[in-house]
Symmetry: C2
Subunit: 358 residues, 2 copies
């Protein structure tokens, strides 16, 4: 193992501090890279604050890594030294089950995926001094090439991290639920970090996009990102006028809400995909689904081949998240902002090169 | 219009009686046929008793018609005099919308389908003396050829009616939700009229079928019909052993129940299709759907091309519902039986030829 500097936290309430963690040496199947940027996901805040329980401290969050390859194992054919690469939400899976064979590593049935941080290592592909994974608020990492995503050199590294989380979270259900070849009327409900990517990706794939938000000030931004229509979801008349107008809705809302509110917007044979970490039960009336052959589905990130496809599309179509680059000494204040209502479409991205101290 | 004898009822509580109704003459696009058999669906009981409200009296129920063609209009190319034909749950639709063009007449967006009885006529393809449709407990009917299903001569007419209701209700979601080409692990929950057809059709399409029931005495029958496995849903251990074992569940349960109970049986990327007329809201936890990319969907009967395909498959594979033939004088007692817990897999079928009086 080797030592590497990271920005972590020792408890739910403790500020970020500079710590040293241990990562495994670069094995024959591994890629080692310098992390230049790491996106800050709202999930990072939940884990850091132990909102879901079970957080292991010290925690080093971050599952939106982007950087430059420094070393590759002898079996590695995915990249060479100097290539731009990234890591998203997954760092291990069994690689033997049907799901892994299908490129659905996030659905691994041979013990489950290992998430990029705060998750027990379980497949022998990684090791740390603690037995659990450390994320990307750190200067360097080493992972099996299976979980490495190639970032096209034309794509600025600071934008890449969020593609591996928010981007793939939207891209995967667009593909899986029938909008991958375009021509569909796609609604994106909730215009935050996920929503902004969803609008751009759905439009880039050739769909007609409707943004749905409780915040009227987001209309201009949504249209700039590629939405053709905007529905203010608190406007009953607007919601009624849009009845049966959508083939697919990707609902990114993570606050408790009722998915029933969005079902009337679906046409026949249409699907509502729930993407937010909503813990309360949802309710629906099954007669409505029956008469219209509609579905309510869930989706969570995506597998590695799809993630690669997503960043390649982003590079080709020049799709970029709206980011604000910060340094480690701003982590505590950014977490405070995110912990309050995060009603912007902006993604904060940690710049490791320029982060010296907290 | 012409007069025809029917067996109808004048109120929720009134017994069946012999009445005379009026149907339209055979137009250029129409097929007229003598109804020899009409299946008795549990829905008939609900409508007759006005359980859902809005029943128009006198009511002549019946949407599982089978008989022999007596007259065809000059544009008719679907059948000739003497052919065996049937009518299911639909007798009119706009024939102009996308749904109709897709052969999804049951989802007609140009005013909606006209159901075979107790529904206002609205597309000008049919007429009656009351302005609403009369069903198949009657000696003859005349409908647009679009809603006529050809019954292969090798298939006994008395079995055909239930195929146009229970049969298509199961066949359509099998096809739509990915089990049409076989190779899937399909669960059929609720083993009544729908369930018995579901087992046979899912198996005939080449799937591995698991029957799921609260009634252990149904196991033998389910296996005889083609189920490979049987799960007693009240047996917690059996349900746990079957966790994540199914790609698709067709849930026919029409009593109030919680669909959450069946979700653990689904594997990743699997779908639970709700088919029963359950009026109470259902609840689900969206995190479960997300982690497994699962869907909860609804489906209702099916369109005309699919219904034709279904009866053709039944004829080819010799799939038959378990029927008991009755005459009109037994209608009241059969309705009484159905109105109490109907826990058999048997379908009652009204024999019009041998029904003289109530």
């Amino acid at each position: 193992m080797y030592s590497v500097e990271a920005f972590g936290s020792s408890s739910a309430d403790a500020p970020f501090e500079k710590i040293t963690i241990q990562r495994n040496e670069c094995g024959v199947d591994d890629v080692e890279f310098d992390i230049l940027y790491c996106g800050i996901c709202h999930t990072d805040v939940h884990f850091k604050k132990n909102d879901l329980g079970g957080t292991k401290y010290p925690i080093v969050p971050g599952h939106e890594l982007a950087g430059v390859v420094t070393k590759v194992g002898e079996n590695v054919d995915k990249c060479v030294i100097g290539d731009h690469v990234g890591v998203g939400c997954i760092v291990e899976s069994c690689l033997n089950c049907d799901a892994c064979a299908d490129g659905d590593e996030h659905q691994c049935e041979g013990g489950g995926m290992t998430m990029t941080y705060n998750d027990d290592l379980k497949h022998g592909q990684l090791s740390t001094n603690t037995g659990y994974a450390f994320g990307g608020y750190s200067r360097r990492t080493t992972v099996n090439q299976r979980f490495i995503i190639r970032i096209p050199h034309t794509y600025p590294l600071k934008y890449a991290g969020p593609i591996f989380c928010a981007g793939i979270t939207m891209f995967s259900p667009l593909k899986y639920f029938g909008a991958g070849s375009g021509g569909k009327r796609v609604g994106i409900a909730g215009i935050g970090g996920l929503g902004q990517m969803g609008i751009q990706l759905a439009a880039a794939l050739g769909n007609e996009v409707t943004a749905i938000s409780t915040n009227p000030t987001k209309e201009a931004k949504c249209k700039e990102l590629g939405a053709k229509h905007f529905i203010l979801s608190t406007d009953k008349t607007a919601m009624e006028s849009a009845a049966r107008s959508l083939d697919l809705i990707l609902n990114t809302i993570s606050a408790n809400h009722s998915c029933k509110e969005y079902l009337p917007l679906l046409t026949r044979n249409a699907t509502l995909v729930q993407l937010g970490l909503v813990l309360e039960d949802q309710t629906f009336a099954q007669l409505g689904l029956m008469f219209n052959r509609q579905s309510i589905a869930g989706s969570l990130i995506g597998g590695m081949p799809e993630t690669q496809e997503c960043i390649d599309l982003c590079a080709e179509k020049n799709i970029r998240p709206d980011v604000e680059v910060i340094c480690a000494d701003q982590l505590d204040s950014v977490y405070e902002i995110l912990n309050n209502k995060n009603d912007t479409v902006k993604r904060y991205v940690l710049d490791l090169t320029n982060s010296k101290d907290v």
